[in-house]
């Protein structure tokens, strides 16, 4: 791990739009702040389960958050 993942995401923008800090979003989803940070920085690809939890908390679809890099 450590390299970019090829999975684009809009997590930071969506989180900021809802006025949430990384720590607040992490607490709502049930993961560490570092996990949110590494997803936003495209270092870590979350599981489907975590992606769905993020989408639920942010009230968007998974496709609104994540996209393949060539699509995003």
């Amino acid at each position: 791990m450590g390299e970019k993942t090829g999975l684009a995401n809009r997590l930071r923008a969506l989180r900021n739009a809802r006025g949430l800090t990384q720590a607040q979003l992490a607490a709502q989803v049930g993961v560490s702040r570092k996990t949110i940070n590494t997803i936003e920085n495209r270092v870590f690809v979350p599981s489907t389960l975590l992606a769905l939890k993020l989408a639920r908390v942010l009230e968007v679809s998974v496709h609104d958050i994540f996209a393949l890099e060539e699509d995003g």
Binding site: G30, V31, K34, T35
Partner: protein, 134 residues
């Protein structure tokens, strides 16, 4: 106890264990003795790590433990185990050369390889901690 404290306890415990095991392994190579310090120190350190991390997790509760061992942490730990496996594998040819050159004997190799192999995943975890990954 919150997840942040539990994470700190886990990371510190793992790091100390890795450093103790490394000290023993390097101690064997530097001093030429199979027991550079009492062998049971490594055993106690391993058991203490398990007891401390487990007890802290129980005290912190299921939610804090789940956050501490979320999928990023588990992935990083698995990464440490994967790299630790290759460290263990490469220690064999390394020590074969050292024995071939009469720099160490078999009892020293046994003591050093065992502790260095065990230390590898924990030291890799420490390196991830220092890089802010866990």
């Amino acid at each position: 106890m919150n997840a942040r404290t539990l994470t700190m306890i886990r990371n510190t415990s793992f790091s100390l264990l890795g450093l103790i095991l490394l000290a023993y392994g390097l101690g064997v190579l530097v001093t030429g003795r199979t027991e550079p310090f009492p062998w049971w120190v490594t055993a106690v350190a391993g058991i203490a790590t398990a007891v401390v991390v487990t007890s802290a997790s129980l005290l912190a509760g299921r939610r804090a433990a789940a956050i501490t061992w979320d999928e990023l942490a588990l992935e990083e730990w698995k990464d440490c185990l994967r790299l630790g496996y290759w460290v263990a594998v490469w220690l064999y040819p390394l020590f074969a050369v050292l024995i071939g050159l009469s720099l160490v004997d078999l009892p020293q190799s046994f003591a050093a390889m065992g502790t260095l192999t065990a230390s590898a995943p924990f030291l890799l975890f420490l390196s991830k901690w220092l890089r802010g990954r866990v």
